[in-house]
């Protein structure tokens, strides 16, 4: 494949053409599986040609664009591969946006990185699906983000996501309520006391912290009708963990948001698209559903091949909005297919503890409240 003429934003004609086709598909009201497959195979050919580490994987398992006829055949990378290889289809100098996962330094674990040569697909995917699943009934709403701002966390996909949502569909009064890693408690309290409905968007650990402060101050709220909660991010060891049911009960008891207006988001730094509970749309709890431009299946954790319906396994995703990196990836999350979506069952166990850590870690875990 010969690189074609570049345009003024750095993307060559082939890339722009592919992006335009994907954007049209994202905007499509009647998307077909055939069109998804066509775009998926086009993306695979594009990525096989341009992403050398990915091509290594494909060559090792003997599968090139000539060997596949459906998106299900496309080789998938392990999501953690984004931590050890640059999985991008463009030179580093053309990186426009870069997301990093949270990683640790002493454990030897490295952070995953997703590079985008253009934010167009990411933003289109984010906005279209968020409006569809979370805000189908209002054009705009106040968004109160309990995540760090872009200035505080320039490589956080969650911060980028919240900032783009605020810029695009956030009504007056929207903003970030974490400053320097700390919850802006008084500002959030005042924002929650206003009479316009709001979307409270935050990580589980931020909500727990906020609810602890509310309890200490005997504070409860009754948010206006239409208000909703989007919880994301899990705990990641940054706060005391609480059972999910307890957290969701607090959304109602402390914020006054009914359970059927609370949804959980599933996403990761390595992916351009997100999955949401359909609670707000149809009242179903816990079923994560993705957009029509990203498909998820459950695969055998060892072979990475699809399991029988109803069996659990790892979640494998093909996301067209990942055009600039690798569309097909296997996550480390366990799930089971349900109602054209999946139930999230938790993280796969992964590597066993090492470095003499077993017994004292047990002590640590149990010692946490």
């Amino acid at each position: 494949m010969t690189p074609t003429t570049s345009t003024n934003d750095g993307r060559d004609a082939q890339t722009r053409s592919l992006d335009e086709q994907i954007l049209r598909f994202i905007a499509s009201q009647l998307p077909s599986d055939a069109e998804f497959d066509r775009l998926a195979l086009a993306c695979f050919a594009y990525q096989y040609e341009r992403c050398e580490p990915y091509r290594r994987l494909c060559d090792r398992i003997g599968r090139s664009p000539r060997d596949v006829s459906t998106w299900l055949d496309v080789p998938a990378v392990q999501s953690t591969s984004f931590a050890i290889a640059r999985l991008a289809c463009f030179p580093r100098e053309r990186t426009a946006v870069e997301f990093h996962s949270s990683g640790t330094t002493t454990s030897g674990e490295r952070a995953s990185t997703l590079e985008l040569d253009s934010p167009a697909l990411y933003e289109a995917s984010l906005l279209a699906h968020f409006q569809h699943r979370i805000l189908p009934d209002f054009p705009k709403m106040r968004i109160l983000a309990l995540v760090p701002s872009r200035a505080d966390a320039p490589n956080s996909s969650l911060s980028y996501m919240a900032a783009h949502l605020i810029d695009s569909i956030g009504a007056a009064g929207s903003g970030f309520f974490m400053v320097d890693g700390q919850l802006a408690f008084e500002e959030l309290r005042d924002a929650l006391a206003r009479t316009e409905p709001a979307i409270i968007f935050g990580t589980a650990f931020a909500f727990v912290h906020f609810f602890d402060r509310c309890r200490a101050n005997a504070l409860t709220f009754r948010l206006p009708p239409g208000s909703r909660v989007v919880e994301t991010g899990g705990f990641k060891g940054r706060s005391r963990e609480v059972p999910r049911a307890e957290l969701y009960a607090a959304f109602t008891e402390t914020l006054g948001v009914p359970r059927d207006m609370c949804a959980s988001e599933y996403g990761m730094c390595e992916l351009g698209s997100q999955w949401y509970d359909t609670t707000i749309q149809d009242g179903r709890y816990d079923v994560k559903v993705g957009p029509h431009w990203a498909k998820a299946i459950v695969v055998d954790p060892v072979t990475a091949q699809p399991v029988e319906p109803g069996a659990d396994g790892l979640i494998r995703i093909f996301d067209l909005s990942n055009r600039g990196s690798v569309c097909a990836l296997v996550t480390g999350d366990l799930g089971v297919e349900r109602d054209r979506g999946f139930l999230l069952l938790g993280r796969s166990v992964g590597a066993p503890p090492k470095g003499c850590s077993i017994e004292a870690d047990e002590l640590l875990t149990r010692g946490r409240g």
């Binding site: 954790p301 060892v302 072979t303 990475a304 017994e359 010692g367």
Partner: protein, 377 residues
């Protein structure tokens, strides 16, 4: 002085019993660990090595150096991934003249009581100095009182867990946290001989100890790394017979499959030499017996567990120093094959390695290395 002399003699006698495969303690340990998560051959090899250099002269020297007057015990929270620290802790405490509480891990509760029995049988002054216990970690009925009653805690765990103990215990903690080891093969090293030792270092305890190499740097180009990887693959195949893998932990086959997928994108292209750069060993106990992957140089891959090892080309020792200085990894040991200068060794140690030893000896640390006799003084 009489006490020191008698103590040294008993320590040496006890250590010799652990080295002797026909001794009572070895037989007891063999029986107790026959259904453990390590293969019997690995257990035997580990017990052969654990006190290999503790003779009477060494014991006498240590006992005279570290007289301890404090009757309060030292608490040792033992690890569950390897068995050496239990025995090493008991003998370090003995050398220091300390009483010790050995808290066994949930998956291995036999060694500490065997040590306590052995010390009783050896007699005073060792008899009665070991209190072997087990409780489930984090027990609020036991730990606060116990932590306050000892004069020191020696614990093996992650940095986060050790930090938690530091916060909750009112006494000093000597912690051995998570760290990683690497190997380095110099340009003059014989690759086939090096692979023999490296395979043993990788295989012991199925790479779950922090002294097991996860990445081995090979001085030279990618081709030399590939040659070493092929030699290591051959040795790991043999080692599957002599030091078989232990029982698979739950979901370990999944973790191995995920690691293989992860490493598939970082391995050198397979067509470079017409040979594959990722060698997956024959299946044993439901998962590949080992994985050897040749990757580009740079930061060490810390993927290693279940005998997964990364081989990386490295220009020279200076390049390794450069990698070690910038790596986000906390290092333990550097296993070496070939010669380096004293100055080079010092520069490597300055980057954070705690020990430089020969490849093949990485899982055979000298007595008093980890823990140390000072930990109990």
């Amino acid at each position: 002085m009489v006490d020191t002399s008698v103590r040294a003699e008993l320590i040496a006698r006890g250590a010799a019993q652990w080295r002797d495969p026909r001794s009572d303690v070895r037989e007891k340990a063999r029986l107790a660990l026959r259904d453990s998560e390590w293969s019997p051959a690995v257990v035997e090899s580990a017990l052969d090595d654990v006190l290999f250099d503790l003779d009477e002269e060494r014991a006498r020297k240590l006992a005279m150096e570290r007289p301890n007057e404090d009757e309060r015990p030292v608490l040792v929270i033992l690890p569950g991934n390897i068995i050496g620290p239990a025995i090493a802790s008991a003998y370090c405490a003995a050398a220091a003249g300390a009483h010790v509480i050995l808290k066994s891990p949930g998956n291995e509760r036999a060694i500490a009581p065997i040590l306590a029995e052995q010390f009783e049988a050896l007699g005073k002054p060792l008899g009665g100095t070991i209190d072997a216990r087990y409780w489930k970690g984090g027990d609020f009925e036991i730990e606060p009182t116990l932590f306050a009653s000892v004069r020191k805690i020696v614990a093996f765990g992650s940095d986060e867990a050790l930090g938690e103990i530091t916060r909750s215990a009112p006494v000093p903690l000597r912690g051995y946290g998570t760290s990683y080891s690497v190997g380095f093969v110099t340009a003059d090293a014989d690759l086939a001989n090096t692979a023999v030792g490296a395979a043993r270092d990788v295989a012991m305890f199925d790479q779950r100890g922090c002294m097991s190499p996860q990445t081995i740097y090979v001085e030279g180009d990618e081709g030399r790394s590939l040659l070493f990887a092929r030699a290591l693959e051959a040795e790991l195949r043999k080692v599957q017979e002599t030091l078989p893998r232990g029982r698979m932990a739950e979901d370990e086959a999944v973790a191995i499959a995920m690691a293989i997928r992860k490493l598939s994108v970082s391995a050198f292209p397979p067509k470079t030499h017409g040979l594959d750069t990722m060698m997956v060993g024959p299946e044993t106990r439901g998962a590949p017996g080992f994985v050897v992957v040749v990757e580009p140089d740079g930061e060490p891959t810390t993927e290693g567990f279940a005998r997964i090892v990364s081989i990386k080309p490295c220009d020279n020792v200076d390049a390794l120093v450069g990698v070690a200085m910038t790596a986000a990894t906390k290092f333990e040991s550097l296993g070496l094959s070939g010669e380096i200068t004293t100055a080079q060794r010092e520069r490597l140690m300055a980057t954070g390695f705690l020990r430089v030893c020969q490849l093949g000896e990485m899982q055979r640390p000298p007595f008093g290395y980890r823990p140390t006799v000072e930990d109990f003084g």
